[in-house]
């Protein structure tokens, strides 16, 4: 396995010149080259947070100008699932476009870009044996029988791809789809329909336990191992949440970046074409499992903007979060506004209801070779039975052809920049100074959040990991007759103000400073 991986890497780096970079998703070394190029820009800090078990860097780009940590920030995350190679390219192109074409946005906003959280898994796209991989390079006993990774996939037909195998079996649960003979569907036994096939991932029963590909030669999946609804003991999740170097390194870093107000994640989950639904019951439980009511309204508003900006329409999109995933973590446990989109959907095509049949019909119409025809193989674990290998090629359904990526990246960059324009914005209005006589002055003003977003989401107000709005008046204690030297405000709603006043003794001037890292700061000098 290691050898094959190594060969894959070598080939990748040998052939991986300019030509390939333009026609296919980049190899890890090409990604690194592009990141390093970006890192040469004055507004970009490139940092490796850690190396994975597979020896791959986990990079973050911090893009901004001036007082970066004092400006509200958006984090853009790719490679949350290793098989979704598109997501890495989208994060990367966003960074490139931001720096090259939209540097003006950095005046107001700082960006954190995590291009690839699953480099160990991502690599499988370019390996000689290709399959949709989620786990990193750690050895894990997924089926919990005492031995790690002892039954992964096997390339039975030698085509370098892991697809499916079907075994002719009158006791099997699967039969041919009426929409497309290449596709298998579950026999509708409730309607008296009998099955024809058993269906497995292309594999052997290497550990002779009667199961196939149940103990994969891959480790923990980043997008299944975070703390929100952590699926303890499930395959690819592990024994406890945030157990991996890359997840810990990323979280440790994020918990130090106080200015992030929103996340945009490219992952299979989607709350952008359709917002999350609010459930009063789940939102009121001690362990909250529904988006909160006010935050649902924000989600709906942002979703509207997404749908205006992105031309593709979601089709057969049902994933609004899975257990242990990243996008839900960013909201439910990190208390930031969190948005996710796959960035790409197979379009609805010729009224096929089955997703695979729809995909194949569409793919055929483009003349794309996305299917491995069912071909009989000899299988040692099924002596005397007809076993055929075939199915939709790995990566084909979740990633578009590379020539489509440019347009997708363009639209998603526009969306992220629109989100940045909405960020919380503190302003001071109605500043008044009144002489009360005998050297006393009353200062009054309104602190206004000139934004369609609140400074703190409803969830954000609950979290200790977002700072409160802090208002400081820099007058010494003996000069301050009334009013707070330091005042903390939990939140300012969208287009909401709070009124403040102080009585100060003496002349000269004082300064009012108000804000929080994720909401930005405003200062005002006041002449007494």
């Amino acid at each position: 396995m290691k050898k094959i991986l190594l060969t894959g890497l070598l080939l990748g780096s040998l052939i991986g010149g300019e030509l390939l970079a333009q026609s296919d998703y980049p190899t890890l070394s090409q990604v690194t080259q592009r990141l390093q190029k970006l890192g040469g820009n004055a507004s970009v800090e490139l940092k490796s947070l850690t190396k994975t078990e597979g020896g791959k860097d986990i990079y973050v780009l911090k893009v901004g100008t001036g007082a970066k940590d004092q400006k509200p920030a958006i984090a853009v995350v790719g490679g949350v699932e290793g098989y979704q190679v598109l997501s890495v390219e989208l994060a990367l192109q966003f960074a490139e476009k931001l720096v090259a074409e939209h540097a003006a946005a950095l005046e107001q906003t700082t960006f954190y870009i995590f291009p690839n959280m699953s480099p160990d898994a991502y690599e499988q796209y370019h390996a000689s044996l290709k399959y949709e991989r989620r786990g990193n390079a750690v050895a894990v006993d997924h089926d919990r029988d005492g031995a790690a990774g002892e039954n992964g996939y096997s390339d039975l037909n030698g085509d370098g791809l892991i697809t499916w195998m079907r075994v002719e079996d009158p006791m099997g649960e699967w039969t041919l789809s009426k929409e497309d003979e290449r596709v298998l569907v579950k026999a509708d036994r409730a309607k008296g329909e009998a099955g024809k096939y058993s269906l497995y991932r292309e594999s052997r029963d290497e550990d002779q336990d009667g199961k196939f590909a149940e103990d994969l030669k891959e480790g923990i999946a980043f997008n299944k191992s975070l703390t929100y609804k952590f699926p303890v003991f499930e395959p690819l999740a592990g024994d406890f949440a945030v157990s991996q170097k890359e997840s810990r390194a990323m979280l440790d870093y994020l918990f130090e970046q106080w200015n992030i107000f929103a996340f945009v994640t490219f992952s299979p989950a989607n709350n952008l074409s359709t917002p999350l639904k609010y459930s009063a019951g789940d939102a009121k439980k001690r362990v909250i499992t529904s988006i909160l009511e006010k935050d649902q309204a924000i989600n709906a508003m942002v979703s509207g903007i997404y749908n205006e900006t992105v031309s593709q329409k979601a089709f057969q999109q049902s994933n609004q979060g899975t257990d242990g995933d990243f996008f839900q973590w960013a909201y439910f446990h990190f208390a930031r506004l969190s948005f996710s989109t796959p960035g790409y959907w197979t379009p609805e095509w010729k009224e096929k209801t089955n997703a695979d049949a729809n995909f194949l019909a569409w793919s055929d119409s483009l003349g794309r070779d996305a299917f491995v025809p069912w071909t009989e193989v000899k299988h040692p674990d099924f002596p005397g039975k007809k076993v055929e290998v075939g199915g939709i090629k790995p990566f084909a359904a979740s990633n578009p052809a590379f020539d489509q990526v440019g347009g997708i990246a363009e639209e998603h960059t526009a969306f992220i920049l629109k989100l940045a324009e909405m960020q919380p914005k503190l302003e001071i209005h109605n500043l008044k100074t009144e002489e009360l006589g005998n050297g006393l002055t009353r200062i009054s003003l309104d602190l206004y959040n000139n934004s369609p977003l609140p400074t703190h989401s409803e969830m954000g107000e609950k979290s200790r990991w977002l700072r409160k709005i802090r208002i400081d008046l820099d007058a010494s204690a003996d000069k301050l007759v009334s009013g707070d030297k330091i005042k903390l405000v939990d939140s300012l709603g969208a287009f909401e103000k709070t009124s403040l006043s102080w009585i100060v003794r003496g002349g000269g001037s004082v300064t009012v400073k108000a804000g929080a890292p994720h909401a930005g700061f405003v200062t005002q000098s006041v002449k007494l």
Partner: protein, 579 residues
């Protein structure tokens, strides 16, 4: 002069057994039942030790008993101190990792200090009693103890060496922003009178609602609704250091090391005290990594204070179904025995009798590792006057204790102080080492009783043996061999939580020296029901050996008369049988 000599003698005694001085001294000692006589390491059990003090004793125990104890650092604390663990077993009878083991730790909450001494007592008692006591001898042949007296050494030292009250610092020494103003630890507690104890501030006031008790001026009494008082309470001894109008509002922490564990972990807004993710703290991470590497740990004990409780999980109602009936029977059997062994202590369930906790240590040990675990809340006011007063006792009782038993040693009398923000105040109150911590004269007895409880717990980790091996001639050169694997203790090799999630591998029963044709787990010997294992039948995987129960395995073999049978269980240890 006399005390100086004693200290020298003690030190010599601890350093070298051959010392003439100590021998001369010990001739005048007479053996008391139940206590190690002429121990190689003499430890005074009526005082407290800093982290370094505990480690010093641990190293001395390991040096004095090289065949029974070894000491190792399993990780580092936030401030870089070692997390030091003693391994106690009879090394001459097998590796520590091949015997069922008991994990013991203390002091996860830094102010809950006596867990350190109580854990140390277990190590001391087992090593010093080993030579003279058959039960302990057998116990250390069968079992291993992993003992970590403090898993929070930084803040343990802070409790002793820096100004604190009985409740601080519950967390470790990491400093976070508690008031949300963007600064961390900018308004710590202030020891205004310089006595090392953070007590209370009161102030004379014409509108006060309290008076000093004319019979005992240490005690502040509320006046009646129709009466005028002359004192007001100002709260904790301290200053408003950051000018935000609050006293002592951003100190050490705050976080709770016992909300940092990876079972049903929840973030701070749901579970106050949680950090970023499970095992954010290096201290807890080192324990987790040690436990993961030692699947032989079958029982665990964590020492807290106070209130006199033997606690089991679940910590949260959401986890009620995790603890199922078969396992609760075992928890109950051991826990109720504990109530008899430790007078004044009650056996309780955290979520329903105490408070709700997500991400607690005991839930991780059980939920994630299938380890039967208790958490004892040490010290109960029952120990003062042998009267039930419901756990932590009342202030009236504390004044009485300080009058009759400790003669004023527990209290800082009110003294005037010129406060920069409040003007003239008086500062006084109970010392940090009173209330939650045992007074010296109660320490040894309660340590022994709690140690006895954990020993009872450890005794009931599984003990496996192969018995009743039977042969039956099947003709045609074949014979059947049936073996019974018996567990003569209460705990199963796999808790039902373990079975539900396949946490630990199965137990393996293997035969060697015979040619195996087929292998089976016997489901019902009388009705001749067998479950065949087709793959590697010479190594039968048994999913569990129940407590005080047995499983039978059977092989059909075609040759072999000098065979042997071995059992290999992660939590049940190894054993074998030879024909």
């Amino acid at each position: 002069m006399k005390t100086k000599n004693l200290i020298v003698a003690l030190a010599l005694g601890a350093l070298s057994l051959g010392s003439i001085d100590s021998h001369a001294q010990q001739e005048n000692y007479f053996r008391a039942i139940g206590t190690p006589h002429k121990p190689k390491v003499e430890i005074a059990w009526n005082r407290y030790y800093s982290a370094e003090g505990l480690w010093d004793w641990m190293k001395k125990i390991a040096a004095a008993h090289p065949d029974l104890a070894k000491v190792e650092a399993i990780g580092k604390s936030v401030e870089g101190r070692d997390i030091l663990t003693l391994t106690i077993t009879d090394f001459s009878t097998g590796k520590d990792t091949e015997k069922p083991a008991m994990w013991i730790d203390g002091n996860i909450h830094s102010n809950e200090i006596q867990g350190g001494e109580f854990s140390l007592y277990v190590a001391w008692y087992l090593t010093e009693m080993h030579a003279d006591n058959e039960f302990v001898k057998q116990l250390l042949k069968d079992k291993t103890f992993y003992i970590t007296p403090t898993i929070n050494p930084d803040a343990r030292n802070n409790f002793f060496k820096e100004p604190n009250n009985a409740n601080t610092p519950r967390s470790g020494m990491m400093v976070l922003d508690n008031d949300g103003d963007g600064l961390a630890g900018e308004d710590m507690m202030d020891d205004l009178d310089g006595d090392g104890h953070i007590t209370m501030m009161i102030r004379k006031s014409p509108t006060g609602r309290f008076i000093k008790d004319p019979l005992d001026p240490r005690r502040l009494m509320a006046v009646g609704p129709n009466q005028v008082g002359d004192y007001e309470m100002l709260g904790q001894e301290g200053l408003d250091n950051d000018g935000d109008g609050q006293v002592n509002d951003d100190g050490v922490g705050y976080y709770d090391p016992n909300r940092d564990w990876g079972w049903n972990w929840q973030p701070d807004y749901i579970q106050r005290g949680a950090l970023k993710y499970p095992f954010t703290l290096p201290e807890n991470r080192s324990v987790m990594e040690f436990v993961m590497k030692h699947p032989n740990i079958a029982g665990a004990q964590s020492f807290h204070n106070s209130g006199g409780m033997i606690l089991r999980g679940p910590g949260a109602e959401e986890d009620v179904n995790t603890y199922n009936r078969e396992d609760i029977r075992i928890y109950d059997a051991i826990g109720k025995k504990g109530e008899e062994m430790i007078p004044g202590y009650r056996y309780l369930t955290v979520y329903k009798d105490l408070y709700s906790v997500f991400g607690g240590e005991l839930d991780w040990f059980y939920g994630n590792r299938g380890i039967f675990t208790y958490s004892n809340e040490l010290m109960v006011s029952y120990l003062y006057f042998h009267q039930q007063s419901g756990g932590r006792g009342s202030q009236d009782e504390q004044f009485k204790v300080d009058e009759l038993l400790t003669f004023g040693d527990a209290y800082v009398n009110f003294k005037e102080f010129e406060h920069p923000q409040f003007g003239k105040v008086e500062i006084g109150g109970f010392k940090k080492t009173f209330g939650r911590a045992h007074p010296g004269f109660l320490l040894e007895q309660d340590a022994h009783r709690n140690a006895a409880f954990t020993i009872y717990h450890a005794y009931h980790t599984p003990k496996l043996s192969v018995l009743d091996v039977k042969e039956e001639d099947l003709g045609g050169g074949l014979k059947a061999i049936t073996a019974t694997i018996f567990n003569e203790r209460m705990m199963p090799t796999h808790a039902s939580q373990d079975l539900k999630y396949k946490i630990e591998r199965p137990d393996y029963v293997s035969i060697s020296g015979a040619k195996v044709v087929a292998g089976f787990v016997v489901e019902d010997a009388d009705m001749r029901k067998f479950a065949e294992q087709k793959h590697s039948p010479e190594k039968i995987a048994v999913e569990n050996v129940p407590g005080m129960g047995a499983v039978k395995v059977k092989w059909i073999v075609s040759s072999g008369s000098n065979y042997s049978i071995s059992v290999d269980s992660a939590k049940g240890g190894k054993t074998s049988w030879k024909k």
